[in-house]
């Protein structure tokens, strides 16, 4: 038997390896196992109990999420952060099982930084989008077992691409869908999609033409509407003064809107 020729990258441990592969080599990250007879396969259940939304407006991409975390029909937490910064120009918003989703965001965040540091260049938008897709695919074993489903939205801004603002949503298997105007996932998303579709077609302005304040008002109205019918969506807690988390990504980077600002818009245009 002839030995196969030595592949070039066998001589290098780091250069061609992505961060999840490095973690797996060190035993720090496992691919979710496919269901076995013992674990059983469960019918696919929609357990992403939350509402997250994102749309492009004049000032970039707005990403918003409610703050409620539920277990079954119990509210366990009312200050959950579901809109997470991945790098200077990328936001991942998560609907799904928090343990898996936050870990996935952590892996993704480290992956992009690891790539920039080792390769001495930023990862392309397509590369980032694909990296998240691979993480979702690696997690699909847990989805099949009825645990660990994650359905994220990914928003990023790239000064070198056309259009500059890019927005994607995913399914639980890792398929990515780029959208031109808006995306919403989670249990409260049907209502939100209805609102955004309506606003974009028959509203006073198209979503992409909205100013920041108008965009925030629509995001708040949409989340409030979702919470009206969906028990798993927190909407706005008027008594506790807990507002949705809203982040905006633009050419300058990411800004998190302070509560006072959201409260101001809420008081004027929503309540």
């Amino acid at each position: 038997m002839d030995k196969p020729p030595l592949a070039l990258d066998q001589n290098f441990s780091g250069a061609s390896e992505d961060f999840p592969a490095l973690l797996r080599r060190k035993g720090m990250l496992q691919i979710a196992p496919e269901p076995t007879a013992a674990t059983g396969t469960h019918p696919f259940v929609q357990t992403e109990s939350t509402t997250i939304l994102a749309f492009k407006f004049a000032g970039g991409v707005l990403v918003a999420g409610d703050r409620r975390a539920t277990a079954g029909n119990t509210v366990v937490y009312d200050r959950a952060d579901k809109v997470l910064e991945i790098d200077r120009h990328s936001i991942m918003a998560i609907a799904g099982v928090p343990a898996t989703a936050w870990e996935m965001a952590r892996v993704l965040e480290h992956s992009l930084q690891y790539f920039r540091r080792t390769q001495l260049q930023e990862m392309s938008v397509d590369g980032k989008v694909r990296a998240l897709s691979k993480l979702l695919r690696d997690n699909f074993g847990f989805v099949m077992q009825g645990v660990g489903v994650v359905v994220p939205i990914f928003a990023t801004y790239d000064g070198n691409s056309k259009p500059e603002a890019r927005l994607y949503f995913y399914d639980a298997m890792g398929a990515q869908f780029e959208v031109t105007d808006y995306a919403a996932t989670g249990s409260g998303s049907p209502a939100v999609r209805g609102i955004l579709y309506y606003e974009n077609n028959w509203g006073a302005k198209k979503l992409q033409e909205l100013g920041e304040e108008e965009a925030v008002a629509i995001a708040l109205r949409a989340l409030d509407t979702a919470a009206e019918a969906d028990t798993s969506t927190g909407g706005v807690d008027r008594g506790g003064k807990i507002f949705p988390l809203i982040k905006i990504v633009s050419r300058e980077g990411i800004t998190t809107l302070p509560d006072e600002k959201i409260a101001g818009v809420f008081k004027q245009k929503v309540a």
Binding site: G14, A15, L22, M28, R106, V107, Q113, T118
Partner: protein, 258 residues
């Protein structure tokens, strides 16, 4: 033959001499603390010599590009996995240098049948206050130095030179000229002056004494006109966890005084 202790010592001495010759032509690197952080500068040809290792850690290196690359990747890998499994706050330059890089470099250097690392590394880690900043050098034999060559403890700058003389003169210059509370443009000037001193102390017509101020500036401007520059900062108060930032060419050139 290497089993005999005397031969081993001789082999190590030869190896040291060989590596020193290889490193002697390396363009110096200066790292200086300033009001808002730590600045790294060097001048050279196309190859990058200043790198981001982790959120608060930067590295400068001279030596063989292949060896620098292996050490750089190892440092990033270690810091990234530590930062991922624990937290960014648990990534420490002191542990990275003492427990990981230094032992590996030492054993590569002393195993005379294998190849040593042809590299000299300069690290800096930015803390939450200037008192917590750390400058650290690791030599090709694994020796770690946190203080200056001339024995000054806790100085807020560090240098890397191809030769001892070059590094010592740079330190001497910085001891005189470096101001901890300087703004970034002033720090850029001092750092490039220090680089020039280090460069003037190399080669055949090397200076042994600190050159005069005019001579330094004249030499610096000649070099800046011809060579590519490289500068990066670790900034203390940034909103982002990532403190490393490469300075653009225009930002550096506009700060340089005539």
């Amino acid at each position: 033959m290497i089993e005999e202790p005397y031969r081993w010592v001789e082999a190590i001495a030869n190896r040291r001499e060989y590596i020193e010759t290889q490193l002697a032509a390396g363009s110096p690197i200066a790292a200086v603390g300033y009001r808002d952080g730590i600045l790294f500068v060097t001048l050279g040809r196309a190859r990058q010599k200043i790198f981001e290792i982790y959120d608060r850690i930067a590295m400068g290196a001279i030596g063989h590009p292949g060896d620098i690359e292996r050490l750089r990747l190892a440092a990033i890998e270690l810091a990234s996995t530590e930062g991922f499994t624990r937290s960014a706050a648990d990534v420490s330059l002191r542990r990275l240098a003492h427990y990981s890089l230094s032992p590996v470099m030492k054993s590569a250097f002393e195993q005379v049948y294998g190849a040593p690392f042809l590299a000299r590394l300069l690290f800096a880690e930015i803390g939450s206050s200037p008192k917590e900043d750390l400058f650290l050098r690791i030599d090709y034999d694994g020796a770690i130095a946190a203080d200056g060559l001339t024995g000054q403890p806790r100085q807020r700058f560090a240098v890397l030179g191809g030769t001892r003389q070059s590094a010592e003169l740079m330190e001497k210059f910085l001891q005189k000229e470096h101001v901890t509370a300087a703004a970034l443009p002033d720090a850029i000037n001092v750092a490039f002056d220090a680089w020039s001193v280090g460069r003037m102390a190399m080669g055949e017509d090397a200076t042994k004494e600190l050159p005069k101020r005019d001579a330094i500036r004249k030499y610096r401007d000649e070099q800046l006109a011809n060579a590519g520059m490289e500068a990066a900062v670790l900034e203390r108060d940034r909103k982002s966890a990532i403190r490393y930032r490469t300075l653009a060419d225009e930002e550096v050139r506009s700060a340089l005084q005539k």
